[in-house]
Symmetry: C2
Subunit: 285 residues, 2 copies
């Protein structure tokens, strides 16, 4: 049974809003209405990124977004000094405000934050290996991307205890007090672990994790089965975005969260449906 | 003697960071160091706008910022549907994060907010008269600029009581739960009034209010003297930005704040100097 911090009056669910649901007014309205109907039973923390908004901002400035590819094929945004500024605006400003406003419209008293605020999410600047188009590996040392080191749960506890729904943008604070781009699913996992959440839910554009997308949706599996699948062809067929999501799910389970659900955020009452059994449910062992 | 809410342990000062100080890393570092040295004696709330950052974003997108001029000569940003999006990013995302990071670097535990969060600042979309270049007046009804109607002090009280320094971006939430651009000095006045602050301080690029800029700095005056001066040539010579600042100061005094100080934010230890007598000190009657 999960340990629930004494200051949080109801079972806590951490929800990552991702994919196109994070920037679609219609999807955000339907997620928000659903959360409003569930808020007497649960407390919620929302985590989100800002990829679509950052790409849009880059496009308007005639900047072509660049991505690094890891040796295992996972893509991540190349975040130089200019891009971290745009990402801060797009993720921390635009995407966060859009979700906060959608929640208020549905009657959920949302408070937008990023990991910078109260140093809620502390990260270390990543040094990582990327593969270029010709397959050559190189070390990337100057990217403003972070690996989450610590979640400062105190501010989130205080907000939840006062009845607010925190909406956390995927920005962390570095050791030198600058913003770092962090992955939204990893953020979900870190928040859910640090706050001893009962469940974590990753909302995306598809109905869950598929053995052979778009065939064979997996309704339930254990984290060990998922880890094994990720070692072989099963999850190897998953897209880069889905791989990151799966890694986030495993992190959440390893961090003590008893159940993580991946499912479609672009349907009516998405959270209610996932809690009732839709999507892919991942549990320990 | 001002009524201090029981949840705030120390005298409260609301500070507007404006002018070029709001986007200068050096000025923000020196303001932050000063606040850190004063935080054992006072609680602080920071208010800020995002004009410079919005102009910069517009420039990078080849958008020419437009301004409305009131019949009394006060300029305000023309905020259409596109500009409110950019303003949300620049003010709520970039400017807010920059101040939050500068404060953390100095050891002040800052939490960035905007008026959207917890509906801290509620506003009504303005309908106002503007004068065009030929002197013709017209009603402006489609501008995403707000007149502050209500400050929800509860969230700010909770943050202050837990030892956080709230940094509030000049964005309010409308009756239909959308972002509105609000004036930073008015925001300062509304926050200081609603939270029964002991003082409000408006930091800018000049040493205070001048009778005949750059001559005759006024070290102290009452709000009645200031109101009288604004009716005649005295404050008539003040720039549009200074006029708004003076209106904000009068609003704060009328809202029950016992002292408002206007002064230079771009000097070492600016707050300490203003509290010791520098700048223009405005008091009731």
């Amino acid at each position: 049974m999960p340990v629930t911090a004494h200051t949080i009056p109801k079972p806590l669910i951490v929800i990552k809003i991702g994919g196109s649901t994070a920037s679609s007014a219609q999807a955000l309205a339907s997620i928000s209405t659903d959360l409003a109907s569930l808020q007497s039973k649960y407390s919620f923390i929302i985590a989100h990124g800002g990829s679509a908004q950052t790409n849009e901002l880059c496009k308007r400035m005639n900047i072509t977004p660049r991505f690094h590819t890891s040796p295992t094929g996972v893509k991540s945004r190349a975040t130089d000094a200019e891009i971290i500024q745009l990402y801060t605006m797009a993720c921390g400003g635009q995407a966060n405000s859009q979700i906060v406003c959608a929640l208020h419209s549905a009657g959920v008293n949302a408070v937008g934050l990023s990991g910078l605020d109260g140093k809620v999410v502390q990260a270390k600047q990543k040094i990582f290996t990327a593969v270029d188009d010709s397959g050559k590996q190189k070390m990337i040392r100057d990217d403003f991307t972070g690996k989450i080191e610590k979640v400062n749960a105190e501010l989130l506890h205080a907000l939840l205890a006062s009845g607010y729904t925190p909406v956390v943008a995927a920005l962390a604070i570095s050791e030198s007090n600058t913003p770092l781009n962090i992955d939204g699913d990893r953020l979900m996992a870190s928040l859910a672990s640090a706050l001893h959440a009962d469940k974590a839910i990753s909302l995306t554009d598809v109905d869950g994790y598929y053995k052979n997308f778009p065939n064979d949706l997996v309704p339930a599996l254990t984290s060990s089965e998922l880890e094994a699948a990720m070692q072989n062809a099963g999850a190897g067929k998953a897209s880069g975005g889905m791989k990151k999501k799966l890694m986030g799910c495993i992190e959440a389970i390893n961090g003590g969260v008893s159940e993580v659900i991946i499912g479609n955020g672009a349907v009516p009452a998405p959270i209610t449906k996932l809690l009732a059994g839709a999507g892919t449910h991942i549990t320990k062992n």
